[in-house]
């Protein structure tokens, strides 16, 4: 058996610069989009500083900033995960068309969310006819963006020479595979309900710090957040699991995957019942 397969992960690069270089070479497109999203936070941040307007109780530019940061993390993560795609995948025509479409969809989403903020109106859940139509298209775009996790899950699962130990590889594939379905459930429900606030006041002011989730009622965004980040939580646990329970033991990862899915569905149900996230916070 190859020694490499027993390592929890391939040995880290010697410096942050060369690590970033490896990631950039693995998926230059997603790396570039990640960088673009990060850079976009600069003018958006200045707008937040300059603009006195608020939306749902908080600075109107907070939402575009959150989405830009989220997409920066998302594309950065996928670029890193691209290190484990089968060799040659990123050069294939279908992949380049797909990943290009995903990137462009993300840019359009930010233009939509930022544009709405500039105009002082809602992006998601917009009530006007034009706004509602845009929102539907945005839903299609968001599904396309999230579908990259499913594509990566399949491709990485097929790769027999990732250099990852069985536990870590399973955590990576499982985390990626769960992202799209859980996100569709949580985000899809939000769009059908026309709001993410269930019962409480429709404002982010007084919400959970940083995230702004409702403390006096249900907020479907909590489940949506953990659903989108399952691609981070489960692989991170996989690394811990490989260290604690051994690199070939896949069961801790599977148990965690089930538990985490249950957790997301619990948050989802909790919100639908109008109960706030972590009511112990008061």
């Amino acid at each position: 058996m190859s020694v490499i397969a027993l390592d929890p992960t391939s040995p880290p690069a010697i410096s942050p610069a060369s690590f970033l270089g490896k990631v950039r070479n693995a998926e230059p497109g997603f790396f570039a989009f990640a960088l673009l999203m990060l850079i976009a936070m600069a003018p958006t941040g200045f707008a937040a500083f300059a603009d006195p307007r608020e939306f749902q109780g908080v600075d109107i530019w907070l939402k575009p900033l959150k989405f830009e940061f989220a997409l920066f993390v998302y594309f950065g993560t996928l670029a890193f995960f691209a290190l484990f795609l089968p060799k040659g995948t990123t050069g294939k025509r279908w992949y380049r068309l797909f990943s290009g479409a995903v990137g462009i969809a993300a840019v359009l989403e930010i233009i939509w969310i930022g544009g709405a903020a500039a105009l002082g109106t809602a992006s998601h859940f917009n009530q006007t006819l034009f706004g509602a139509i845009l929102y539907s298209f945005a839903g299609i775009g968001a599904t396309l963006i999230a579908s990259a996790t499913a594509v990566y899950a399949v491709q990485i699962a097929r790769n027999t020479v990732t250099g990852l130990s069985p536990a870590v590889k399973e955590s990576l594939v499982t985390g990626l595979a769960l992202t799209l379905p859980l996100t569709l459930i949580s985000a899809g429900t939000m769009s059908q309900m026309g709001t993410h606030f269930i019962g409480g006041a429709p404002t982010d002011a007084g919400g959970v710090p940083l995230m702004g989730w409702s403390r006096d009622g249900g907020d479907l965004r909590a489940a949506h957040f953990f659903a989108t980040h399952v691609m981070h939580f489960i692989p991170a646990f996989g690394l811990v699991s490989a260290a604690l329970f051994g690199p070939t033991n896949r069961w801790p990862v599977r148990i965690l995957a089930v538990a985490f899915t249950a957790f997301v569905l619990f948050l989802f149900g909790q919100a639908l019942m109008g109960r706030p996230f972590l009511p112990l916070l008061g």
Binding site: F46, A47, A50
Partner: protein, 146 residues
């Protein structure tokens, strides 16, 4: 968040001025000058400009299609500030270009300095001066180099 437009105005002027001082020192630190005055500071000013337009464009009157409309646009003080930062950013960018172009066309820095001063004070006039000097010295070769 509340912004003090006058404070941002002063800060922007100071930041731009720093860029021009770096340009004056460029014969000693050419690559540093290119990066700071040609990229970093214009980019910083551009961030401020973009943020201001994002924040205040939709609530402003006027536009670009007539002189009266431009005047209306600038009646929103934050957009006037944005306009001023637009000047600062682009004048500095052009100044840095002049320095690079002069270096390439072997125009002595002594002749570049007045162009820089002119660009600093009267933007396009400084550019015109440099283009004229460059064309006069090497009509065929350097005249149309970008």
């Amino acid at each position: 968040m509340a912004m003090n437009a006058d404070a941002v105005f002063s800060l922007s002027n100071t930041v731009a001025l720093a860029g021009w001082l770096v340009l004056l020192a460029s014969p000693f630190i050419p690559r540093v000058a290119d990066r700071i005055a040609g990229i970093a500071i214009p980019a910083l000013l551009a961030v401020a400009y973009s943020g201001l337009v994002l924040a205040f464009w939709s609530s402003a009157q006027g536009g670009f299609d007539s002189l009266d409309n431009v005047a209306a646009l600038f009646r929103t003080r934050e957009l006037l500030l944005a306009g001023w930062i637009h000047y600062l950013a682009f004048d500095l960018f052009v100044g840095a270009w002049i320095v690079r172009s002069a270096r390439q066309a072997a125009v002595p820095f002594l002749m570049v300095v007045p162009c820089l001063v002119l660009t600093f004070l009267f933007g396009p006039a400084g550019l015109l001066a440099f283009l004229a000097i460059r064309a006069a010295r090497k009509p065929a070769a350097a005249a149309f180099a970008v």
